[in-house]
Amino acid sequence: MSYTMFSAFEFKRKDTYIHKLDPRTKMFMTIVFMTVALLFTTIIPLLITFIITLIPILLAKSVEEWLNSLKGTTILLVFILVINSFIRDLNFALAMILRLIVLITAFSAFFLTTHPDDLAQALIQMKVPFDFAFALSMATRYVPTLAREAQTIMDAQMSRGLELQKGGLTQKIRNLIPLIIPLIVNSVRRALSIAESLESRAFGAIKKRTYLYQLKLKKNDFIFIIFLTLYLLLMIYIKIYSPLASWMEWKFPL
């Protein structure tokens, strides 16, 4: 099924310290990890950054899911490796790969452990308008549905003898019409039907909506935020004021 690629970054419910953190804390965490990754351009510091970024993944017991999301980006990683080793050198290329892995890891640490509904709630509490946050959470809700639908349409048309790989370029593009039209028609029908049901549940009744849940930063969140802040400050300090020890500048002798 083609939606395995979507499931890589998909939330999985687990009962861990990281899963229980406030989405805003985790948002901060991702930003800190990304910033630190962008501070350095050599292998050793990035390797250290990577190991630190891995801590929340380990705490969240989500190593397998994290590896899956990495797997999904293998082609991109190889591409960057090749391009960079041609235009610069292998050392730089490796550093860039490491940096990208840190970015992906930081992202998956957020999305693998944050319920999409909680993310929407966090956005709302950060004063993002409800309509926008709701649209976002609806999108995450319906991505797997849409992917499944696309797969079914493909199966249905293949059963009628459609061969996607057949013909030249123009033929190949024409082969997509029997897939795209049903997908659009169905999405429109579904959207209408969802709108009808939302309307019937008083959607948009008043401007100032209330919420059953209210996210609150807890003690653990504050502890985590303090650690993250210290980490960020330390890294910035090292970057600006203290020249890196020589072993930190180690490179592959080429």
Binding site: P116, R141, S197, R201, A202, L212
Partner: protein
Amino acid sequence: MSLIKIKNLSFTYANAEEPAIKNINLTIDKGEFVLLTGPSGCGKTTLCRCLNGLIPHFFTGEMQGDVIIDGLNTREHPVYKLAQKVGLVFQDPENQLVSLNVEKELAFAPENLGLPREEIRKRVEEALQLLKIEHLRYKAPYELSGGEQQRVAIASVLTLKPKILVLDEPTSNLDPKGAEQVLKTIKVLNEKLNVTIILIEHRLDLILPYTTRVILMDQGEIVLDSSPEKAFCSNIPEKIGVDVPVSVKLYNELSKTGVKFNKVPLCAKDAAKLLAEVLK
């Protein structure tokens, strides 16, 4: 006063040539359990949409006549007002469950109304208990069976505290066990909360014993409105292409051969009992 009053209602969708429903006159009282059925395209769904104001507010077209719900004329009141009187449940649960967590799904409607948090909590808990879905509280739609999904969809409109529940083919996507669960739930709501039920359903055998009234539609019009016994003993279901439940069919066929039960059986148990009397 009647809970639902429909006077000379006709509706033609924008872009359509023919009216989808015409000359509908209907009154329904509190606590009734109405089975609404008829062949596909007979206008059942359009009629449902008129009950909570989706027509004329959401679907545009030409509407004649009036629909009065608990004293409110649907022309003059927005859908969110009417939705607190009439809960609408649709066929496909996938398109009704928009959250990734049951509790949130149930809170969605009262949140939209801007109710205080304690009140929302109270309504959510009540609905969870009433429909016996407390164990599903934190589940996502894709973790539920079809029957569970549809019960969550029902609960998600119940938190608006409607007096009327309209269900448009709620079981047609479900397997037999799921359908049974949903139909039982509907019966409980009717009995315990005295909620007025308007149910569109093809599985007549399962639901007929609970119904107090049957309305048959064909080509946009109401062609019969009577007790279930009378409805299925007439020749109208046959004529418009609606199946007759097996126990009533048996009664009809035996009548033709001269064997008469002293009442019309609405379920297998009754039919068996009546037959045993005849055979003694």
